[in-house]
């Protein structure tokens, strides 16, 4: 049974502009959201054990209090679930480069995520850039966030997955003396590590850190 000591960087940010903050025609609310996507190849192992996750938060900023915390999810899924981001919104991609140097046009596939370089190199990040909060301005009833958000990978029903654990990220580093065993009965290939926020927050949020854990499978 392989025992891997993993350490993955992660970051999450959400920038928000309130309605009427700018003059017309820019007086609509909008947001920009970025998050890292990490995944570990687990060879379709039938049993996977995650031991003692340690979250080291190096940066945490929010302008006002958050109604929904930033969360960090461990879940099992198959290859290429990031194709869920092949949507009708423009995205900025940071393909392990440290810069959002790739612009993905609407309905174009996003570059492949190579799990082998995620631990050593820069994080793979996806950014939804300057997305209007509502698609029906000025009525403001149809939210774009459920369709243009990192949290899609968690909540979209089209992705088959098996959730392993979710932690709430705060401004302090914390360790968990936890060992949880996951029965991978569906033979998923990858363990995904995703920071996300469930609902848009009307403020600025920025966090970065690193999660260490031991993986046995």
């Amino acid at each position: 049974m392989p025992q891997l000591n993993l350490s993955h960087k992660f970051s999450y940010s959400q920038s928000y502009r309130r309605r009427d903050e700018q003059v017309a025609p820019d007086n609509f609310s909008r947001y920009t959201e970025t998050a890292t996507i990490s995944k570990v190849y687990v060879e379709k192992a039938k049993e996977i054990r995650i031991v003692n996750p340690l979250f080291m938060i190096t940066e945490f900023r929010s302008k006002i209090s958050l109604e929904n915390p930033v969360e960090f999810a461990f879940f099992l899924a198959n290859e290429n679930i990031e194709s869920i981001f092949n949507d009708s919104y423009q995205k900025f991609i940071d393909p392990n480069a440290g810069r959002y140097n790739t612009i993905v046009a609407p309905n174009e596939p996003i570059p492949m995520i190579n799990p082998a370089v995620l631990q050593a190199g820069f994080s793979y990040r996806i950014g939804y850039f300057e997305i209007p909060e509502y698609s029906d301005f000025p009525d403001d009833t149809e939210e774009n966030f459920p369709f243009a958000s990192i949290s899609k990978i968690m909540f979209d029903a089209r992705i088959q997955k098996q959730l392993a654990a979710i932690y709430t990220i705060k401004s302090v580093s914390f360790a968990t003396n936890e060992q949880f065993l996951i029965k991978n009965t569906n033979g998923y290939e990858y363990l995904y590590l995703i920071p996300f926020i469930q609902k848009i927050q009307n403020t600025e949020i920025a966090l970065a850190g690193r999660v260490n854990f031991q993986l046995e499978y």
């Binding site: 970051s11 940010s13 920038s15 928000y16 502009r17 309130r18 009427d20 903050e21 700018q22 609310s29 909008r30 947001y31 920009t32 970025t34 940066e59 945490f60 900023r61 929010s62 302008k63 006002i64 900025f92 959002y100 950014g127 850039f129 300057e130 705060k170 401004s171 302090v172 009307n202 403020t203 600025e204 920025a206 970065a208």
Partner: protein
């Protein structure tokens, strides 16, 4: 002489070091200052001092500007913290991609020292709350597992602390326990586990497998019709009792044999005689045998005469010796060669019809014995008899060789030689 100010190169203002400066008056060289005897500054030194002070002033003005900008930025951040969401318009809002663009975002978690002060306050408060106690007699229990929210988890005294309690009652903790009382289940009945076994009726099953499959709630007798699967049973039925406490089967009987130990004395109606089988016993196994044997005579002992009862059909010679003891005549019949006469352990008197010339051979002669042998010539006659080599014969005596004549030979053996005598003319 000029004093070299080593600090000037480090941007530090000049200092008058009076201990090393000498100043004197122009008139009488009287000392004008402390230990000063001469004016030591030269015009070039003054120029250096002016230049350095000018640089210092410029540097301080620049530092003040930077500090002012920093204070303004800090003030702006604190305003952001305190007065948001009062509109604070920024073209970056809603467009920040990189974390460094969030530098103007201020979080309460980032205020230096605030967490530590909160921790100090929390610790002090926790210490105070931890000091909350309740005396034992009040029966109040305070749960201080969360120091910020102590909870009174019990406000009644323990049973042991209650005074003047009524006696002779049973506690609920005794329910279902030994020497307690029975509990009731959801249907208002006493659970089976608290009832003595009532299902002890006889069970009859076909084989051991069905016996083991029985779900029994107490000690139960079970008859197994075919108990051959039991290694201790060869065939037929067997009877078992299930020991519920030890979950074991106890076999009490079986068809092929009785698994009981029964004393012979306890068997009634047993036969007084029965065909015994050949078998051996040790002397020690027979009561009184050794004592009886000890009273018997050894076979090597001499039997005294008074132990002997005289009877016509009992004697102390063997059958082979009867001829000698009865002085029987042993008839050799007609012989043509030399016969071997028996020793006198068997016969004394012999009869021989001569069919040829013979030699008398006596086996194992016994000293003191007398042999009487009757010789009869056959119809031919002329047959001769040669005596043993150690025989003494009176002169003139010989066998009658006439046909059909009879001669009687007498031999007396003294252990060395035979004294022979022929008689004829019968």
């Amino acid at each position: 002489m000029a004093k070299v100010f080593s600090y000037s190169v480090e941007g530090i203002p000049f200092l008058w070091e009076f201990n090393s400066i000498y100043i004197s008056s122009d008139s009488n060289n009287a000392e004008l200052g402390r230990e000063g005897v001469h004016v030591v500054l030269e015009p070039s030194d003054l120029d250096d001092l002016i230049t350095t002070l000018t640089n210092e002033i410029t540097s301080r003005v620049q530092t003040d500007t930077e500090l002012s900008e920093g204070l303004n930025l800090t003030n702006q951040r604190i305003d952001n913290l305190l007065y948001d969401p009062v509109p604070e318009s920024s073209v970056k809002n809603g467009s920040r991609l990189y974390l460094d663009e969030f530098i103007e975002v201020f979080s309460t978690d980032q205020v230096d020292g605030l967490e530590q002060r909160f921790a100090l306050f929390t610790n002090a408060l926790s210490g105070k709350l931890s000091d909350l106690i309740a005396s034992v007699g009040t029966g109040i229990t305070i749960d201080k597992s969360n120091p910020a929210f102590p909870v009174i988890s019990q406000n009644r005294p323990l049973w042991d602390n209650i005074q003047n309690k009524p006696g002779g009652i049973q506690l609920t903790s005794q329910k279902g326990q030994s020497n307690g009382y029975a509990s009731l289940d959801g249907s208002g009945k006493v659970p089976v586990s608290q009832i003595p076994n009532l299902n002890s009726s006889l069970q009859i099953v076909s084989n051991i497998t069905e016996r083991n499959a029985l779900v029994l709630t107490g000690n139960t007798p079970v008859l197994v019709i075919d108990a051959s699967d039991d290694s201790n049973v060869t065939s037929g039925h067997a009877f078992y009792v299930y020991d519920f406490a030890n979950t074991t089967w106890i076999k009490t009987s079986e068809q092929e044999s009785l698994d009981i130990i029964l004393s012979w004395m306890n068997i009634t109606g047993k036969p007084t005689t029965f065909p015994p089988e050949a078998h051996n016993h040790l002397i020690s196994e027979i009561t009184g045998l050794q004592t009886a044997l000890d009273g018997k005579r050894n076979t090597e002992d001499t039997i005294s005469a008074n132990y002997i009862i005289q009877e016509n059909n009992k004697f102390f010679v063997s059958t082979a010796e009867q001829g000698r003891w009865n002085n029987d005549l042993y008839d050799f019949g007609t012989v043509t060669s030399s016969p071997s006469f028996f020793d006198f352990g068997l016969y004394n008197s012999f009869k021989v019809t001569l069919g040829g010339n013979i030699t008398v051979n006596i086996n194992s002669p016994r000293s003191g014995q007398v042999y009487i042998i009757k010789f009869i010539q056959d119809a031919t006659g002329g047959r001769t008899v040669t005596l043993p080599g150690s025989s003494l014969l009176p002169s003139g005596e010989s066998i009658n060789t006439d046909p059909n004549s009879i001669s009687l030979l007498t031999l007396h053996y003294d252990g060395t030689e035979y004294l022979a005598s022929w008689k004829s003319g019968f």
